[in-house]
């Protein structure tokens, strides 16, 4: 198998882009969060499409505008998400779809245009080279581990001659409720606070990044002023902390590892990527489940992901097939809610 080293230039990082992988573990006790992609299932699929290991580093990108150029050599890419994508080269501009791999030849640029839905895309690059720090290539600038990508920066990747691949039935977010487990400090809130959380829609505010998402809805009332703080304890990705304002904040991959606000509930791991991908102004509903159901949901989410990865198929011939036409013709079924649970 022939391998060549290709160079990629970030022509624009758009709204925000950083290298992320499955994240680092074992250092929360000294204040280092996991980091890593906000949707691990998308990372696995995008990496599978370009022939990478499931947790290989990818580019995580918010809100569109990312432009990558193959400087020399060929570069195989695949985008997970819901975005319009252009490839610009000598032959003009070509529209491509997400959820397939495609080769950029030397001089060609890939542009993530407007996102059709959500705010997140993951760009996998076959054989992407990234430096690991403390067991992971994930960027965590707050600890001096890497920096967000900037225009002009160069990456390198090992290109391997191979076919291109397609995920026939892409997952999309879907509007199913986001499931939560009550606690660890549900008792710091008035009796009907959990019913409020799970009974009315909450909207996503524009205060949302890799650390967390601030939501807005009817205030979740603390039992008393004394219940507005706790002696700081550990947080996890998914912790829903509620400061004195009564408006919840869901912590994500880069959030601090201990916190002094009471946590009314924890978003389950199977639904956290879906929450992180919601845009400002969108509403969501929460649904209370117990720990057993939450653990079952994690397993069912993993099984669905394994099925999706197994469904990836080779694209015919030289890859010149018009995928948009294939999707439009119904030959390949359109996006479905691949990550909804049957529970």
């Amino acid at each position: 198998m022939s391998e060549t080293l290709s160079a990629i230039e970030i022509r624009s990082a758009g709204a925000y882009a950083s290298i992320q992988d499955g994240g680092r573990r074992g250092l929360r006790r000294v204040g280092v969060p996991w980091s890593g992609v906000l949707d691990a299932a998308w990372m696995s699929i995008a990496n599978a499409l370009v022939g990478n290991p499931a947790t290989a580093p990818v580019i995580e990108h918010f809100d569109g505008g990312l432009v990558l150029k193959a400087l020399h050599g060929r570069v195989r890419v695949a985008v997970a998400g819901q975005a319009d994508i252009d490839i610009t080269g000598e032959q003009g501009v070509q529209r491509v779809v997400c959820w397939r791999s495609i080769c950029l030849t030397s001089g060609e640029s890939l542009r993530i245009r407007a996102l059709r839905a959500g705010r997140l895309v993951l760009v996998a690059i076959g054989g992407l080279q990234a430096t690991e720090t403390l067991g992971s290539a994930s960027t965590y600038a707050r600890a001096g581990i890497g920096k967000p990508l900037t225009a002009g920066e160069r990456l390198s990747a090992r290109f391997t001659e191979a076919a291109d691949f397609l995920l026939p039935e892409p997952p999309v977010g879907g509007g199913a409720p986001i499931r939560v487990v009550a606690g660890p400090q549900a008792g710091h809130f008035v009796d009907d606070a959990l019913a409020t959380l799970c009974g009315v829609p909450f909207s996503v505010t524009d205060q949302a990044d890799r650390m967390g998402v601030r939501l807005q809805g009817p205030p979740l009332e603390h039992r008393s002023d004394a219940h507005k703080d706790i002696i700081s304890d550990a947080t996890v990705p998914g912790s829903m902390q509620v400061p004195g304002s009564g408006q919840p904040i869901v912590l994500l991959a880069d959030a601090q590892t201990v916190g002094g606000y009471p946590k009314i509930a924890t978003v389950i791991s199977a639904d956290l990527g879906r929450l992180a991908n919601r845009r400002a102004g969108e509403t969501l509903r929460f649904q209370l489940v117990d720990v057993d159901a939450a653990e079952r949901a994690a397993r069912s989410h993993a099984e669905q992901l394994a099925q999706l990865v197994a469904s990836i198929r080779r694209l015919p011939g030289d890859g010149s097939v018009d995928l948009q036409a294939l999707y439009n013709s119904g030959l390949i079924s359109g996006p479905i809610s691949g990550f909804e649970s049957e529970e």
Partner: protein, 264 residues
């Protein structure tokens, strides 16, 4: 009745009777061992943390990802694809009650140099005034106490240390600073801390420590670990600058600042 009380006596060593289990989603739960910030409570947390990690290293807790000790609790984080809360709790149930003293005697003691002079302690005068003491008394009391690292967080390597002498306890600043310099030694409430990196912050800044608390290039990036003990030694501005330059050149021998395995 006799049989029942016998059963109760036997089961007092059960995990669920020594601590409360708080749900934290499908990949974590928190074992709550107390409800106040105190050395005795954190000793119990450290001892349990040691036991859990010893069992994990012996292969007894497959699927456990990591544990996070804090002031009053130990959070156990796991992979729900490999284990479950029920399985982990059943395995932890087998642990005998931990001896908090065993954990304590194995902790490291650090002697960290702090410069309390000039620009290093921008809040010294104001804090001394609020506390009704001289700046000299404030510095003496701060550096004469021995502190324990209760937990780390807020920033990577940021140690929450206690207990601050009661005469030095005061609430946080009403106006947090947008920018606290790295190395700042600070106090708030019953705690003292060192900012490992630049950040916003609401604590009162008394001095500067040149020893780098967090460096991702080190195999163990955080200088301090939960349960470590810390004393401060005052250094003058010239010595502080020398230490800063050595730290910048990565020429500081970090081990020189600690005494390992000191029995209390």
């Amino acid at each position: 009745m006799a049989a029942e009380s016998h059963v109760r006596k036997v089961t007092t060593s059960r995990l669920s009777e020594r601590m409360r289990v708080a749900d934290a989603g499908d990949q974590a739960f928190t074992l709550v061992l107390g409800d106040r910030i105190a050395a005795e409570v954190v000793d119990t947390v450290s001892a349990l943390d040691r036991q859990v990690n010893a069992l994990r290293q012996a292969g007894g807790l497959p699927g456990l990802i990591e544990t996070v000790p804090s002031f009053c609790s130990l959070t156990v984080i796991y992979d729900p694809l490999q284990t479950s809360r029920q399985q982990l709790l059943a395995a932890l149930e087998q642990l005998p009650p931990a001896d908090p003293l065993a954990g304590r005697s194995a902790s490291r003691l650090w002697r960290l140099p702090v410069c309390y002079e000039g620009d290093c302690g921008p809040d010294l005068a104001a804090t001394a005034a609020v506390l009704g003491m001289s700046v000299e008394t404030l510095i003496d009391q701060h550096r004469q106490a021995e502190y324990r690292v209760y937990t780390l967080g807020f920033l990577p390597g940021f140690p929450f240390m206690g207990d601050l002498p009661s005469a030095l306890q005061l609430p946080r600043r009403t106006e947090p600073r947008l920018r606290v310099a790295p190395g700042s030694v600070a106090i708030a409430g019953a705690l003292t801390a060192i900012y490992p990196s630049e950040s916003p912050g609401g604590w009162h800044l008394l001095g500067q420590c040149a020893v780098p608390l967090f460096d991702p290039a080190r195999p163990q990036p955080s200088l301090l670990q939960p349960g470590d003990r810390v004393c401060f030694t005052a250094v003058n501005a010239a010595e502080h600058r020398r230490l800063q330059q050595a730290a910048k050149a990565r020429a500081l021998d970090l081990a020189a600042f600690s005494e390992a395995e000191v029995a209390s």
